[in-house]
Amino acid sequence: MSAKLNALNSDSYTDVSQYRDQHFKGNRYDQEKLLKQSNTLYVGNLSFYTTEEQVHELFSKSGDVKRIIIGLDKVKKTACGFCFVEYYMRGDAEHAMRFVNGTRLDDRIIRTDWDAGFKEGRQHGRGKSGGQVRDEYRQDYDPARGGYGKLASQIPAAEQRNTF
C-alpha cells in the first residue's frame, strides 16, 4: 500500500517554535523530547483581564481541557497576561495549535506554543517588576497590559523620544 507523501504531510502549525525556556531543568535533548510529547500549551499576549473562564471556553473548542493555570505577577499575584492550558490528549492540543493559535481572545491575537509541562513556580512572571519579561521592555502603550512597559514608563516623557 502506497505510503503517505512527505510533501503532502505538512502540519506546520503544530511544529515546535524556536523558543526554549531558559529556566528548564534538564538538557536540550530532554526539553525537545518533552515538547514533542507535551499536552500543555503556553498561551501568550493575553489581556490582564482575561479570565480562566474565557480561556476555558475558547480552548475547549479543540478538546477536553484538563486544567488551566493563569500566569501571575510574582509580586502582585494578579494575572499578568499569559497562561498554561493542559489537555488530556496531545491530539487536542495539536488542534489548538492549528485552530486557536493566532485567533482572538478578548479582541487580542493570542499566541500558543508547546510547553514542556507545568511545574510549580512557572506560573509567575519572570520580569524584574514581577510581570512578564516582555512587559519590562516594550515601548508601546497597551491598556490591557498595564499601559506602558515598565522601562518606558520610568523614563520621563520628555526624554522618551530620544531613547533607542
Binding site: L8, S12, R98
Partner: protein
C-alpha cells in the same frame, strides 16, 4: 511562531537523518516535490510544466521507476482535486513508455484492491475516477472501463447485502461520468445506456428512510435538501441530455491530444468487486447541502444550477481541497481561492456553501468544528472586500430559516457565529433581527439570539453583551453569571440549614479537618427523618445542600478555586453522595447555586464525574428530571449530556486498551518462554509466577471492562427510556386534547433523540439488540419508532 516546516537547529531527529542517509531520501523528496507541486508558482503554463516534468520523469525511469510509481499512485489517491493534472502526466509518460503505463495501471489496481479491503471507500472513489480519466488520456481502453463499470453495477443485483454497499458502487460509477461520460458514450453507447437504465431501476427501488435524519432543513423551499444519489442521478441525466458536453473540468490532456492519441492503450484487467464482508464499513448516505442558487450572487458569474454537473464537480473539488489542506488554514484558504476556473463561477458563494455544508453535515462534520471557523476567518483575511459580505448574507439566510433547521445544526451555527463574532469585536447588525423580539422567547429566532449571546458572553464578559446589542434586546441578554447563595439571601436566617451553614463556612475558612466538618454536619436536621429506619447514614438532602452551597460559595471566584474545593473535600462529598438520591441531589444543588452560570455547571459536573462523586447515569437522570424540564431546550443541557456520554465511552475504551495490552504482554511473555525453554527450573518458576500475575491482572481487567460496558449500556438505556417517556407523554396529551403535536418543544425533543443516535452511533450499535427488544418495540408510538428506524436505515 515559526512556520518553517524543517527547523534545522535543535531538531535531533532531522540532523540524525541527514547524517545517516544521503542520496536516496533526497532524490525521493525531490521527486515527490516535483510531482506534488507541478505547475505551482510557475510563470509558464501548466501544460508546459507537465511536458517538462514528463521529460524529467522519463529520464529517471531506469533508476527510480518504483519510486515514481509509488508517488503517482499516492497522488491519485491523495490529491483528487488535481485529478486531471496527474492523468495527463501519466498519459504523457505512457505515450513515451508503454510498459510504464501498463505497470502504472497494474499498480493502481493493486492499490484499489487494498483500499477496498481496508474500508477506505472514499479513497477508492478517487482511484476509480482517476482510472476513468485515464481513458481520456489514451492510457486505458474505453471498453475495458465500461466492463469495470458493468461489474460494479451488477452489485445492485446482489441479494441480502446492505443497501449502502450497492449504493457505493452506483455512486462510484455515476461520479466518474462527468469526467469520462462523453468518451465512454462515444465508444460504447449501447452498453452505457443499459448500464444507466439498470441504475435507474435500482434508484427507484432504493429505500430512503434515512433522509429526514440527515437533512439540515426540513423544508423543501427554497432549496430541496436532496438525497445524494438522487441528486447525482439528476445531474448525470442532465449531462446526458446535454450530450455529455461538460465545460468546467480543467483538462490539460486536450492540449496534448496529438501526442496522446498516438499512444497505445492498455486494457483494465477484469475486476470483480470484492464480496460483501460482515465487517465492511461502507460510507453512510448523505443529503446534499444547498443554500445558494443563481439568484443569490448579485453580480458577476452565474452559479451553476443544482442539477448541473458543474455544480457537482465544483463541490467535489472544493471538498477535496479542504480534505487535503485542513491542517494548514492559510494554505487551505489560498488553495480554495485559487480554484482553477474561478473566474467563471461565483467562487466565494461556492466556498461558503461547501464549508457550511461540511459544518452542518450529519451525523458529524468531516473535520473539527473549530477548523471551519478559523478557515472562514482566513478566507475573510484574503478576500476582505468580498467574502465577509457573502458570509453575512449566508448568516442572514440561515437566521431567516431557523424554523425548519435541524436542532443539532442550529447548535453548530450558534457555536460558529459566536466564535466568529468574537474575532470581529462582536460587530453585527442586530437591529436587522429585531423581528425576534416580537415572538415568544422559546421560538427559534429569539432562542438562537439568546444562545449566541450566552456563548459570546463566555468568550468575553457580561457588560460586553450589554454594550453590543441595542437596548431593545435586553430580554435576550444572558443573566450575569453570579453565584446564588441561598444562605445569604434575604430571610435566609429562617432556613433550617442556616445555623450550620455559618458554622461549616467558618470551619472551612479556618481549615478544619474533614472529621471536624463531618461532625458539624451531623447537626443538620434530616427532612426525610420520618420514614427513616434508623439504620446508619440515610440520605440527607439538607446536609448536602448546606455543605455544598457553602463550599461552592467560598470557592466561587474561579474554576480553579472550585476544582480545588472539590478536591480538598472529596472524601466528604463522596460520603454524602453514596446513594443514587445523594448524587441526584448534589447535582440539583449545583444547579440551584450556579443556574446563572451554565458554563460553571458544566465544568463542575465534568469534574464530579471524573472524580467519581457522581456517575454518568445520575447526570442523565438529573438532566431529564422534572426540576430541569424548564431548561430542557437550552444548549448547555445537551453539551453536558453529550460530554457525559463521551466520558463514559472514553472510559470503556481506555480499559479495553489496557486489557488488550495486558493480553499482548502475556502472549509475548509466553512466546519468549517457549523460545527460551530448557532453562533452569528457577527461571521457569519465576516466569510462571509472572504469568500468574498477568493472568490475574487480565481477569481483573476483563471484569472491569464488563462492568464498564454494563454501565455504558445502562446509561444509554436510561437516556432512551427518558426520551420515550417524555415524548409519549407529549403525544398522548396532544392526542387527547386534539392538539397538533408539532410544537417547538416537540421538534426540539425529537431531534435531540435523533442527535443521541447520530452522535454516538458507533457505541450504540453494540447495544442494538437490547434497544430493540426492550425499548424500540412495535408497541412504541410510530413517531418515536420512526427515529429508531431512520437510524437503522443509515447502516443497512
Amino acid at each position: 511562531m515559526s512556520r518553517r516546516r524543517h527547523s534545522d537547529e535543535n531538531d535531533g531527529s532531522q540532523a540524525h537523518k541527514r547524517r545517516r542517509t544521503s542520496e536516496p531520501i533526497e532524490i525521493e523528496d525531490r521527486l515527490e516535490s516535483l510531482i506534488c507541486r507541478v505547475g505551482e508558482k510557475s510563470t509558464s503554463s501548466l501544460e508546459s510544466n507537465l511536458e517538462g516534468l514528463a521529460g524529467v520523469l522519463e529520464a529517471d525511469l531506469p533508476n527510480y521507476k518504483n519510486k515514481i510509481l509509488r508517488i503517482l499512485c499516492s497522488v491519485a489517491r491523495l490529491l483528487p482535486e488535481k485529478l486531471t493534472v496527474y492523468t495527463t502526466l501519466v498519459g504523457l509518460l505512457n505515450a513515451r513508455n508503454y510498459n510504464f503505463g501498463g505497470e502504472f495501471v497494474e499498480a493502481m489496481i493493486r492499490q484499489l484492491k487494498e483500499t477496498l479491503k481496508n474500508n477506505l471507500y472514499n479513497e477508492a472513489v478517487y482511484l476509480i475516477r482517476f482510472l476513468s480519466d485515464l481513458v481520456n488520456c489514451h492510457v486505458i481502453a474505453a471498453p475495458s472501463m465500461v466492463a469495470m463499470f458493468e461489474n460494479f453495477i451488477s452489485v445492485t443485483q446482489e441479494e441480502d447485502v446492505p443497501q449502502v454497499r450497492s449504493d457505493w458502487f452506483v455512486y462510484v460509477v455515476l461520479s466518474s461520468l462527468p469526467w469520462v461520460g462523453k468518451e465512454l458514450y462515444e465508444k460504447k453507447d449501447v452498453e452505457m445506456d443499459r448500464l444507466l437504465s439498470q441504475v435507474e431501476g435500482y434508484l427507484k427501488r432504493r429505500v430512503k428512510t434515512h433522509v429526514p435524519m440527515l437533512q439540515v432543513w426540513t423544508a423543501e423551499k427554497p432549496h430541496p435538501q436532496e438525497e445524494y444519489l438522487d441528486c447525482l442521478w439528476s445531474q448525470i441525466q442532465k449531462l446526458k441530455k446535454d450530450r455529455w458536453q461538460e465545460r468546467h473540468i480543467l483538462r490539460p490532456y486536450i492540449a496534448f491530444d496529438s501526442v496522446l492519441c498516438e499512444a497505445l492503450q492498455h486494457n483494465l484487467p477484469p475486476f470483480t468487486p470484492p464480496g460483501h464482508m460482515p465487517d465492511a464499513q461502507y460510507p453512510m448516505p448523505q443529503v446534499v447541502f444547498r443554500m445558494f442558487d443563481y439568484t443569490d450572487a448579485p453580480e458577476g458569474p452565474v452559479m451553476p444550477g443544482s442539477h448541473s454537473v458543474e455544480r457537482f464537480v465544483i463541490e467535489e473539488n472544493l471538498h477535496c481541497i479542504i480534505k487535503t489542506h485542513w491542517k494548514e488554514r492559510k494554505s487551505c484558504a489560498a488553495q480554495l481561492l485559487s480554484y482553477p476556473g474561478k473566474n467563471k463561477i461565483p467562487l466565494n458563494y461556492h466556498i461558503v456553501e461547501v464549508i457550511f455544508g461540511e459544518l452542518f453535515q450529519l451525523p458529524a462534520p468531516p473535520h473539527l468544528d473549530v477548523m471551519y471557523t478559523t478557515l472562514l476567518i482566513e478566507l475573510c483575511k484574503l478576500q476582505p472586500g468580498s467574502l465577509p459580505q457573502v458570509l453575512a448574507q449566508a448568516t442572514e439566510m440561515m437566521y431567516m430559516r431557523l424554523d425548519t433547521m435541524n436542532t443539532t445544526c442550529i447548535d453548530r451555527l450558534i457555536n460558529w457565529f459566536s466564535h466568529h463574532l468574537s474575532n470581529f469585536q462582536f460587530r453585527w447588525s442586530w437591529d436587522d433581527w429585531s423581528d425576534c423580539l416580537a415572538v415568544d422567547l422559546d421560538k427559534p429566532k429569539p432562542k438562537f439570539v439568546k444562545e449566541v449571546l450566552e456563548k459570546s458572553m463566555r468568550l468575553s464578559y457580561h457588560q460586553r453583551m450589554v454594550d453590543i446589542v441595542p437596548p431593545t434586546f435586553s430580554a435576550l441578554i444572558p443573566a450575569e453569571p453570579i453565584f446564588i447563595y441561598k444562605y445569604m439571601a434575604e430571610s435566609a436566617s429562617s432556613l433550617p440549614g442556616y445555623p450550620v451553614s455559618i458554622t461549616v463556612g467558618n470551619a472551612i475558612k479556618n481549615r478544619a479537618s474533614n472529621e471536624e466538618i463531618m461532625s458539624i454536619l451531623k447537626d443538620v436536621p434530616n427532612p426525610n427523618q420520618e420514614d427513616d429506619d434508623d439504620e446508619g447514614e440515610t440520605f440527607n438532602p439538607l446536609k448536602i445542600d448546606v455543605f455544598l452551597q457553602t463550599l461552592l460559595h467560598l470557592a466561587a471566584k474561579s474554576f480553579s478555586h472550585s476544582f480545588s474545593a472539590l478536591a480538598k473535600f472529596h472524601e466528604i462529598l463522596k460520603a454524602l453522595t453514596e446513594s443514587d438520591e445523594g448524587k441526584l441531589h448534589m447535582l440539583k444543588v449545583v444547579y440551584e447555586a450556579w443556574r446563572n452560570h451554565p458554563q460553571m455547571i458544566a465544568v463542575l459536573v465534568d469534574k464530579m464525574i471524573r472524580t467519581q462523586i457522581v456517575d454518568c447515569a445520575a447526570v442523565a437522570n438529573w438532566l431529564f428530571s422534572q426540576d430541569m424540564a424548564h431548561e430542557f431546550t437550552r444548549l448547555f443541557i445537551w453539551e453536558i449530556l453529550h460530554s457525559t456520554i463521551r466520558k463514559m465511552n472514553k472510559h470503556v475504551q481506555k480499559i479495553q486498551v489496557e486489557l488488550e495490552e495486558a493480553k499482548d504482554k502475556l502472549e509475548k511473555q509466553q512466546h519468549k518462554r517457549q523460545k527460551d525453554s530448557g532453562d533452569e527450573e528457577d527461571m521457569e518458576k519465576n516466569s510462571e509466577d509472572e504469568d500468574g500475575q498477568l493472568e490475574e491482572q487480565i481477569d481483573r481487567l476483563q471484569e472491569k471492562v464488563e462492568s464498564a460496558q454494563s454501565e455504558q449500556k445502562n446509561l444509554f438505556l436510561v437516556i432512551f427510556q427518558r426520551f420515550i417517556m417524555l415524548l409519549t407523554e407529549h403525544l398522548v396529551r396532544c392526542e387527547t386534547g386534539s392538539v397538533d403535536i408539532s410544537t417547538a418543544w416537540y421538534k426540539s425533543c425529537i431531534e435531540r433523540l435523533q442527535e443521541i443516535f447520530l452522535m454516538h452511533h458507533v457505541t450504540i450499535h453494540q447495544y442494538m439488540g437490547t434497544l430493540e427488544n426492550l425499548l424500540f418495540t412495535a408497541e412504541l408510538d410510530p413517531h418515536i419508532l420512526a427515529v429508531y428506524q431512520q437510524f437503522c436505515a443509515l447502516q443497512l
